[in-house]
């Protein structure tokens, strides 16, 4: 097993383990970032979108005549216009298809119906208001369970004759018979329905683009908010027929992604069409309502879980059936082989032999999606289910929730561990992380305090979540998106003066890649971080990569960066041997230098070697000092942690207050501790949010009830707790620098800690489960039902 990394570089060099201040910050703190809406091109037009007020309706007619009279309006684009070019449908990343604009039927409220192109933002909005659309409402299917009933309207009659129903796909994993047998033989069985509601990433920057068609050069430049620009380029080439070398996707700075900027939205395609049609640059920027009401959602899993165990609390079997509400099309951003993502990581941190998981995807009249909300493919759903079930089991058997976890953990000596659903965990020390969290929060004292308070009638709960993530997709034998294998890349160029330009295949939406990827190179080659420039997000210059989501940047592109640096280091060894007139095999690498073994004064720094690569290379060797690496990971990585949450519940209002939250994370070796902590703070807050506040709900007519920030409640600084962080370090044995990824761990791990704490506070009243979000209304109603009053 790999060992924990010690710092090898000085703070001035700033390799791994140093809290280097971020290189990207000087522009952001001055307001000098370049976000998509900041881009203005000469002659640029604006595109705005007419959207459906109905969740399901036939379009009887679209009348654009009044809109075309609005001063400044240049064009109105409808589905009929797109149909002529075969562009009214587009493929989704999940192999389904999605309307760019409808020709006959709208399928969800706020769906795109027509686009207006005009000379200003205001003129485009005036044009949108003047487009007259005549709709005939149709029966709306909101509930995915009802969507599966035989008499439900078929929402997608465009599908094959044998698929004239609302069932999209069935996916399963594990051994059904073994899980059933395990449950039948179990001394104790529990069964629970757990709903994980539809939520929205709501990055503070919405989505947008500027499409810029240059007819003379035959060049399409698409400036856009994308977490995966190379994939966009390839899809655009395949769909439009434009030659791929003449398509350039540029991302600039992105104001948060969290999965919401992975998909292709109709607005992007419309801007491209509008630019091709008008010959001018066309800008499309969503407003917040459009973003919340039409962009990809996350979660929406209706889970039924059964667990078997011994009376002593040893888990023996798990069986999970899930209905996944995908909206009107499956536009999930999952790898091809995994329509329910990596949901079968649901056995979690626990060692038991029998498990079976099945998921059925269903169409409803809601927006499409199935993106991550800051997690690797469906891992949050899996973690929530297993951590809730383990907690219910503990309470049922009157075993302390910490003890039941300790008793069921996969032990460190069992690593690598093969799960009953087929994953091979590479490393982990789960007892150590939970022990540290318990020590940090003072677990035993809290349980005493809880008992005293309960005797006085006060409601206090303690919740634990000991999660295992699965990130870093992924190995090419299993992982692709629309056929593109999920490798990633880095290209490093060392300039003659010893300065470095490196380009990576992943994107940043705030993760700090300009700093952390420089630190990886600093670690490997000894160049100071200040001398290394990291570029990304321009498909004309960056090497091909699959983008940033699912915590894959460090596991995949970070590995590529280390491997490219090692290629440079190896070439540098031969250059140094030439300069030192020594045998390459006699050289040793220390602190950014190649030295002759036993004669440390005979050495060449990496900077001297870089100069020689351009001025004094040996005959027969290729000049220059560059390398590129495309990294195909041998396995995924498995970050883990243990979180403990303490809540107090106000009996009068039902308000849950998170009093303390201790998060112990293990993400393997750490590149930049300051950035890792920042990722965990943010991740915890995006775990806190759907636990207590956020939920995208619809009425029976498919009307979105949380379509603005008035109703979709993001946490502010007031509700958000001050987080307490701890670390253990268990390096990934297969990753070149032993790292695992960290951006999403806390979003995955936090919700069950909070939900477990709330149920823990109420268990004695006969409460077994409450679905998130744990709003005051919900808790208040339960308290009143149980006869609790203030």
């Amino acid at each position: 097993m790999a060992t924990e990394m010690q710092r090898q570089t000085t703070p001035e060099v700033g390799g791994m383990g140093h809290s280097v201040k971020r290189k990207e910050d000087p522009r952001f703190i001055r307001g000098a970032g370049q976000f998509i809406d900041d881009l203005v091109l000469p002659g640029m037009l604006w595109l705005d979108i007419v959207r459906s007020p109905y969740a399901h309706a036939t379009i009887k007619s679209i009348d654009a005549s009044e809109a075309l009279k609005v001063p400044g309006v240049a064009a109105v684009i409808t589905g009929a216009d797109l149909e002529k070019a075969g562009l009214h449908w587009m493929p989704t990343l999940a192999g389904d298809k999605q309307m760019v604009l409808p020709t006959h039927t709208v399928m969800y409220q706020s769906q795109e119906v027509a686009a207006v192109v005009a000379t200003s933002r205001y003129a485009a909005a005036d044009g949108v208001a003047a487009v007259m659309v005549d709709y005939e409402p149709l029966e709306v299917v909101v509930d995915p369970h009802k969507a599966l009933l035989p008499d439900a309207p078929v929402l997608r009659p465009d599908r094959a004759a044998d698929k004239q129903n609302n069932h999209i796909w069935h996916w399963e994993s594990g051994d059904r018979a073994a899980a059933d047998a395990g449950l039948a033989a179990a001394e104790h069985r529990i069964s629970e329905d757990i709903y994980i509601p539809r939520i929205h990433v709501a990055s503070i920057e919405t989505c947008g683009c500027v499409a810029d068609w240059d007819a003379i050069r035959g060049q399409m430049t698409l400036h856009m908010t994308s977490q995966a620009p190379h994939v966009i380029r390839t899809v655009l080439a395949l769909v439009s027929g434009l030659p791929e070398q003449n398509i350039r996707v540029k991302t600039h700075d992105i104001g948060g992604g969290f999965g919401g900027k992975v998909p292709v939205y109709p607005g992007y395609v419309l801007a491209v069409v509008a630019s091709l049609t008008t010959g001018k640059p066309v800008k499309w920027i969503e407003d917040r309502s459009e973003n919340l009401q039409a962009d990809s959602f996350a979660r929406d899993y209706h889970i039924h879980a059964e667990m078997g165990a011994t009376n002593a609390g040893k888990i023996t079997s798990l069986k999970v059936s899930t209905i996944a509400d995908h909206g009107y099309t499956d536009a999930a951003a999952d790898p091809s082989k995994f329509p329910a993502g990596l949901f079968n990581v649901i056995t979690g941190s626990y060692d038991f032999p029998n498990a079976f998981v099945e998921v059925d995807g269903v169409y409803t009249n809601k927006p499409p999606g199935g993106v991550a909300y800051r997690c690797s493919f469906r891992v949050t759903e899996a973690v929530h289910a297993i951590e809730r079930m383990v907690d219910i089991l503990a309470h049922d058997l009157d075993i302390d929730p910490a003890k039941i976890r300790m008793d069921n953990f996969i032990q460190p000596e069992q690593m690598p561990y093969k799960t009953p659903t087929g994953w091979e965990y590479d490393s982990g020390d789960y007892p150590r992380a939970l022990k540290l969290a318990m020590d940090m929060i003072g677990y035993d004292d809290l349980r005493k305090e809880q008992a005293e308070k309960r005797a006085r009638g006060e409601l206090m709960g303690i919740g634990i979540s000991s999660f295992t993530e699965i990130v870093g997709a992924g190995p090419s034998h299993d992982f692709d998106i629309i056929g593109l294998k999920m490798f990633d890349s880095c290209e490093i160029r060392v300039h003659p003066t010893g300065k470095v330009l490196a380009r990576i295949g992943v994107q940043t939406q705030g993760q700090g890649h300009e700093t952390t990827f420089a630190q990886i190179i600093a670690e490997e080659l000894g160049f100071p971080v200040a001398d290394i420039k990291i570029e990304y997000g321009d498909t004309d210059t960056a090497p091909y990569g699959l983008g940033t989501y699912a915590s894959r940047s460090t596991p995949v592109a970070g590995a590529a960066t280390a491997m490219a640096a090692r290629k440079i280091k190896e070439k540098a060894r031969h250059l140094a041997a030439h300069l030192l007139e020594a045998n390459p095999d006699d050289l040793v690498w220390t602190n950014g230098k190649w030295s002759v073994k036993g004669s440390p004064d005979r050495s060449k720094t990496i900077q001297e070697i870089a100069f020689a690569a351009y001025t004094n290379h040996p005959q027969g060797m290729e000049p220059g000092l560059e390398a590129v690496d495309y990294y195909d990971p041998p396995n995924l990585t498995f970050p883990f942690g243990s979180y403990i949450c303490v809540v107090d519940i106000d009996k009068g209002t039902g308000q849950v207050t998170v009093r303390r939250f201790v998060a112990v994370d293990d993400c393997g070796n750490i590149i930049n501790p300051m950035i890792v902590d920042g990722q965990i703070h943010g991740g915890l807050t995006m775990g806190f949010a759907p636990s207590l506040l956020e939920s995208m709900t619809y009425d029976e007519n498919g009307n979105n009830l949380a379509g603005t920030f008035m109703d979709y409640l993001l946490p502010t600084a007031v509700e958000t707790p001050a987080w307490e962080l701890g670390k253990t370090t268990t390096p990934s044995p297969h990753h070149p620098i032993g790292a695992k990824g960290v951006g999403e761990s806390a979003t995955v791990g936090a919700p069950p800690a909070i939900a477990n704490a709330v149920v823990d506070a109420l268990w004695h009243l006969g409460v077994r489960n409450i679905d998130i979000p744990l709003t005051p209304q919900k808790i208040w109603a339960i308290l009143r039902e149980k006869g609790v009053t203030a």
Partner: protein, 166 residues
């Protein structure tokens, strides 16, 4: 069209606008000061926060014509060219930003707080930020950055008071 005369970051400007034009669009599009961002339509997120006559306002909810005759400060005007306001320095130092989109609004709101409360505790800082959303940082390091800036500014104020001519 209406004529709006205002002082932005110390420079007098006159802009012809439609009466319905929002201040944020005057700032971003007419004056090209794109550090002020738009994150919502409902004045919840605070990414568009600027100072109007010394008070923090959400410029997506102010009509440009309402700013006629006023003095506006945006993030670009917080420090002289090449310099950093203590809040900007503290956000960098304390990792108070990730994607950077909410950051200008956060800094403008924090500056408004520190103008009236030079030594806020964490609770006061958190309440002052209730109209500014951040999706990346969990606010943790934003609070730390504002506290750091307050400390630095108090030390700075004390130092300049001591050094003042008697």
């Amino acid at each position: 069209m209406e004529s709006v005369a205002l002082v932005v970051n110390g420079v007098a400007r006159t802009v012809e606008v439609e009466p319905r034009r929002l201040l944020v669009q005057l700032i971003r599009e007419d004056l090209g000061l794109t550090g002020t961002h738009v994150g919502c339509d409902t004045s919840q997120c605070g990414a568009c926060t600027v100072h109007m006559d010394g008070v923090a306002v959400k410029s997506c909810t102010v009509l440009a014509v309402q700013a006629d005759g006023s003095s506006v400060t945006t993030i670009e005007g917080m420090a002289p060219e090449g310099g950093l306001h203590p809040l900007q320095a503290a956000f960098w130092e304390k990792h108070g930003l990730q994607c950077g989109f909410c950051t200008p609004g956060m800094i403008m709101t924090a500056a408004d707080l520190l103008a009236s409360d030079t030594d806020p505790d964490d609770d006061a800082i958190r309440h002052a930020l209730e109209g500014n959303f951040c999706r990346c940082t969990g606010y943790h390091n934003i609070v730390a950055a504002i506290r750091e800036a307050a400390n630095k500014m108090q030390v700075g104020a004390a130092t300049s008071a001591e050094g003042a001519p008697r």
